[in-house]
Symmetry: C2
Subunit: 300 residues, 2 copies
């Protein structure tokens, strides 16, 4: 199944990755009522090369709860989280927001197309995510639960609120608690939702769901610390976006608050706690543990 992990390649099953790409491509096809250029811009943003970490998390959570059979059931949820992730990047990159021109190693959507198109691409991806969930997850009652939890994670009390506070924090000193609160909403909520969506789509038990949610929270937190560390010490070719932009923008980060080494230690602790949270799954959660450990290794 998974290739032997090295420090550079994530331990993601290649066949699973292909399954995700196929599903993303399928859901990024539109009928003639979608203007051709809009469809192209949606696909440009959604299908840009990426690790698809969140979709993999959805499917691995489903597999941990319900085995291989549950993976197919959860596929629409994997597509939906990637759509939410892609939309949030397109809107965050806009001139009025983070004003970025490079993303995943390519021009950002508003650079490649124009600003109006980028706004509409984000709106389209956000809307489409709920269409995919509502029509793709079965039975309907489970689809509604998935829509509710994804909307909560993507809404003003989580993703959107985190982005608003993140913008407000530019060039201002904030403490660790505030920084964590921003990250919990801006990054953590979608990690957490990815795991929970997998559990709900696979009809996992309440205990399984809670364990996976805790794993997602710890992993999301670690991921953000690692992201901050990479902004200090990574290189653009590997990271696929501008390096040093946090400092350039006067942003408080984990390394700037805690120092580099303590940040690395904190990330390692969180990865360990994440893995402990899913102890009870035994071997069924081994791929999730390997993925968490990969996230941890990226900080070194």
């Amino acid at each position: 199944m998974a290739a032997a992990p090295t420090s550079d390649s994530p331990p993601l099953d290649a066949q699973r990755s292909e399954q995700i790409e196929t599903a993303l491509r399928r859901w990024a096809q539109f009928d003639a009522n979608c203007p051709a250029q809009l469809g192209e811009a949606i696909r440009y943003s959604l299908l840009a090369p990426g690790k698809r970490l969140r979709p993999h998390l959805v499917l691995l959570a489903a597999e941990a709860c319900g085995g291989a059979a549950a993976v197919e059931q959860a596929l629409p949820a994997a597509v939906a989280v990637e759509m939410i992730h892609a939309y949030s990047l397109v809107h965050d990159d806009l001139p009025a927001m983070d004003d970025d021109d490079l993303r995943r190693g390519r021009p950002t959507c508003h650079k490649q197309f124009d600003e109006a198109t980028a706004i509409l691409v984000g709106d389209a991806l956000l809307t489409r995510a709920f269409e995919v969930l509502a029509t793709g997850i079965q039975p309907g009652e489970r689809a509604a639960r998935c829509c509710a939890l994804l909307a909560k994670a993507a809404g003003p009390e989580a993703l959107v609120g985190g982005q608003a506070d993140d913008l407000a924090a530019e060039f201002r000193h904030i403490g660790l608690e505030r920084l964590q609160s921003i990250h919990r909403r801006k990054t953590g909520a979608l990690f957490r939702a990815s795991l929970e969506l997998g559990a709900v789509a696979a009809d996992g038990s309440a205990e399984q769901r809670q364990a996976l949610v805790l794993f997602g929270e710890k992993l999301g937190h670690a991921f953000q610390i690692v992201d901050d560390l990479l902004d200090v010490s990574g290189n653009e070719a590997n990271v696929g976006k501008r390096i040093g932009k946090d400092r350039h923008r006067g942003k408080v980060t984990y390394p700037s608050l805690l120092g580099v080494e303590p940040s690395r230690r904190r990330a390692a602790e969180l990865i360990e706690e994440a893995c402990q949270a899913i102890d009870s799954f035994g071997a069924a959660a081994q791929p999730l543990r390997e993925l968490a450990e990969f996230v941890g290794r990226r900080s070194r």
Copy 2:
């Protein structure tokens, strides 16, 4: 129930209007994870004075299918369509889009706050609409159907696609077919969805749903013709937005393509066809007919 209609006041039940406002206010409250200014900007945009035509349509459709008891069941759908409508106005008004500074007689969201906030307000309202549907409509299977149909109506094959084509049509001559295609997606789809949401939330029969959908399509089409006519002959105080902006922006409209009088006749025909579509409901659909006739009267 409804006040005697005059040419200026819509035949909307005042108690029903209050029920809608209360529900909108309730769903526009957020926990402490939503930044205060973002919450304020969301409420500024969602709770701005308005007729709430679409929410009324949802509730009247539900009532036509299931009587007074169905109105309460459909209330979350009424909130959700108004959130989609409000989000689309906030994003359409942005400088990169229609660049408007007046809306419903007040500064647009990006004028009152700033551009980043307006982008996030739109994202938040769009997301919240699905949270309201997914958690508010019961049972879950029905909620999923509502999410699916609203997402379709708001997505790239309808609302978002219509807006993209509308922007592309500025300062270009387009024919009647193209104009209708834009309006069907940009305005018509949400009217249609409002009626269908009411029917689905009230568990109406397939025949009831189809009749209401047809009513919604005809009414939406008439509404857009009337909107074009008001842009020629209305006044800002009554219409609550800039007048003459279509011409200013080099936009093809129904009056510019067909002339004023033929446009008025076309709107009147559509209103008549809309009312015929719901003939089978008898007295249960009388308030819907009165609302349609009010829309028709506005063009004179």
